[in-house]
Symmetry: C2
Subunit: 360 residues, 2 copies
């Protein structure tokens, strides 16, 4: 298979972990006789320094010629949040990228690694065998709704609109039911229909879509209850379908279950096979340049790209297995290391990449 | 002290647990020579059956003559959610009650009980000594913003508006800083200022208010990160200040930490000492009428009422201590009972009330 892959390496630890992701990509490429052309794409901090834009038009134009994008984390240090270089990365790069490619489906799979149960803040009997797929709407809702500043009676009012149309809900609901069909056959819609009008439409349209999937269970939960249930009993979920804002909160909450945020990749997809794959963690300026960041989420992004954009299920499974094997053998990056672990097996970023490459 | 207390007993387990709350109230009344007049107020299911209203005007009129309200959970069984008796309890009773009395501040204190650490889904080293006060805005935001149904291009769009004015934010921020002053002197504002306009106003106004409290630390966290941090490291929080919608989600999430939702009371307050005090859990139709519900959250509501509405700090501390002592002595309601616990100490709802009354 020949594929063109755009790489947005990201800020701070971004280039370090993306390098390991590409290392793994190239091992698979050789092993399975594929041809992957890598197209470096400039964005975020470095693009801002060079062009005064976080997402230059040339980057978007080149990205359009790619079959998929691998993206590192964008963003700067908390102390520099008011610096123009960092203050608008979200609004100037992250949100426009999702919108430009109409990537309305964000997927995060939450699974626990047996060899890392002890790292979870949650007790082992709760996280054992969890497998939740969070399907978050990504290009509508409050993120993209009308924003207003008005003044009345001498004081300001700022507002955001949470708006959804039937078709926006329908197309992501169909995806959720399709995924569920290949999994444990249950979709749980999470919304707040006892308070929000938009949630009432979500329930209505999801019920309609569910009619076409008689073999998939169609469940509903209020968002406040879901925030409890994800910690009390995450095994009750198979596919969790929700809006952009609720998905942002719930997927981050659920990401604590496996024990380190450095383990979780995400996929953002639209109507075609084109997708954007990125770790869910940030750019971690405090540990950048030290070869200590965990490259596993970036490496697992390659597996997600194989699954969702290229249909290379066997290759994806190889990568996932290599990661599990490496962790099972006791190898750890600093975020996964605890006193009592074998110091010989504490690895740097590139050494973890090498270990996973060997396990392939 | 003479006080008039309105009691909305609530649905299903509501009357059972409220009875125990009043039992404790009367013990304190005698012990400390107070006079508490109880005014029963009709609302929710029974009021709907009798008057076709979940919150009859007569109930509101009588409630206005009270110094504080004790409220049991409102709501019906999930299977009957489309029954008019239950479908609009939130919109017809819960939200109007908050709005009518301008109870814009909702408080939930999250603390763990040493004798119940084993019940928490989260590991003991994380929940030991937590003491988080969640200050949630309760009468604005998406809950009360404009709701619209529009049709365009043959499809419907439903929307909700998250809107805040400077004064709405300012008055709750002042409360948060006042509480923090008497606690560990830290306020963490939780919002989503990298995406939402309304969150930008929250940050601005909270920073302004913080200027008047130089001795209180003023911190900020995005809501997705807060959803992680509440599980990873809840001890970092003292006062967590947030909007109505985010507060709904985060306070339910945090409520899993102590090990049972049956332990957590809440206070809803306005500009005066008048307040509404209610457990955070639901009406639990599945266990109603069996004398097995946990009355502790309702009993702790009495303590909150003493603290926030009546300024009776010593009386409040007595109740809280009696609850801790009773749990420490091994007494359990069914939700708190685990195999290995002493079956002799498994108590029904009214027996738990008696045990706490004895401990007073
Ligand atoms: C950086 C931010 C805009 C983004 C979001 O809120 O979507 C992030 O939190 C995420 O979940 O990808
Ligand atoms: C019942 C519902 C309207 C309510 C809310 O969302 O405020 C409840 O969840 C709460 O937190 O008190």
């Amino acid at each position: 298979m020949r594929k063109v892959i755009g790489v947005l390496e990201g800020d701070y630890i971004g280039p370090e972990i993306m390098k390991e992701a590409l290392k793994i990509l190239h091992v698979v490429e050789k092993r399975h006789h594929h041809q992957f052309e890598i197209v470096p794409l400039e964005a975020s901090g470095k693009a801002f320094d060079r062009y005064g834009h976080h997402l230059p038009p040339a980057t978007l134009a080149k990205a359009e010629t790619c079959d998929a994008l691998l993206k590192g984390p964008f963003g700067g240090p908390p102390e520099q949040m008011n610096d123009p270089k960092w203050s608008s990365v979200e609004r100037e790069a992250i949100l426009p990228l999702r919108e430009h490619f109409r990537l309305y489906t964000n997927l995060r799979g939450i699974r626990s690694f047996e060899s890392l149960f002890h790292l979870s803040p949650v007790k082992e009997h709760i996280i054992r065998d969890i497998d939740v797929l969070i399907v978050r709407e990504l290009t509508s809702g409050m993120y993209y709704g009308e924003k207003k500043e008005t003044v009345s009676g001498g004081e300001r009012q700022f507002s955001d609109v949470e708006a959804y149309t039937e078709s926006e809900i329908r197309k992501i609901a169909v995806k959720a039911f399709e995924y569920a069909k290949k999994r444990k056959k249950k979709v749980t819609l999470v919304a707040k229909s006892n308070v929000l009008k938009s949630s009432v439409l979500w329930r209505e349209v999801v019920n309609e879509v569910a009619g076409f999937y008689p073999d998939v269970e169609n469940d509903y939960m209020h968002v406040d209850n879901a925030a409890m249930q994800l910690i009390l009993n995450p095994r009750q979920f198979d596919v969790l379908l929700t809006s952009n804002m609720f998905g942002d909160i719930l997927s981050d909450e659920a990401s604590v279950l496996p024990g380190s945020i450095g383990l979780i990749p995400s996929a953002s997809l639209g109507d075609s096979s084109f997708g954007l794959f990125e770790p869910i963690h940030g750019s971690a300026p405090n540990i950048a340049g030290k070869n200590i960041a965990n490259p596993i989420s970036a490496i697992l992004c390659v597996a997600l790209m194989f699954t969702y954009s290229f249909g290379l299920a066997a290759e994806a499974a190889h990568i996932e297995k290599a990661v599990t094997t490496t962790l099972h053998a006791g190898y750890r990056t600093a975020d996964l290391f605890r006193s009592g672990d074998d110091p010989q097996k504490l690895l740097g970023t590139s050494q973890m990449g090498d270990a996973i490459a060997r396990a392939l």
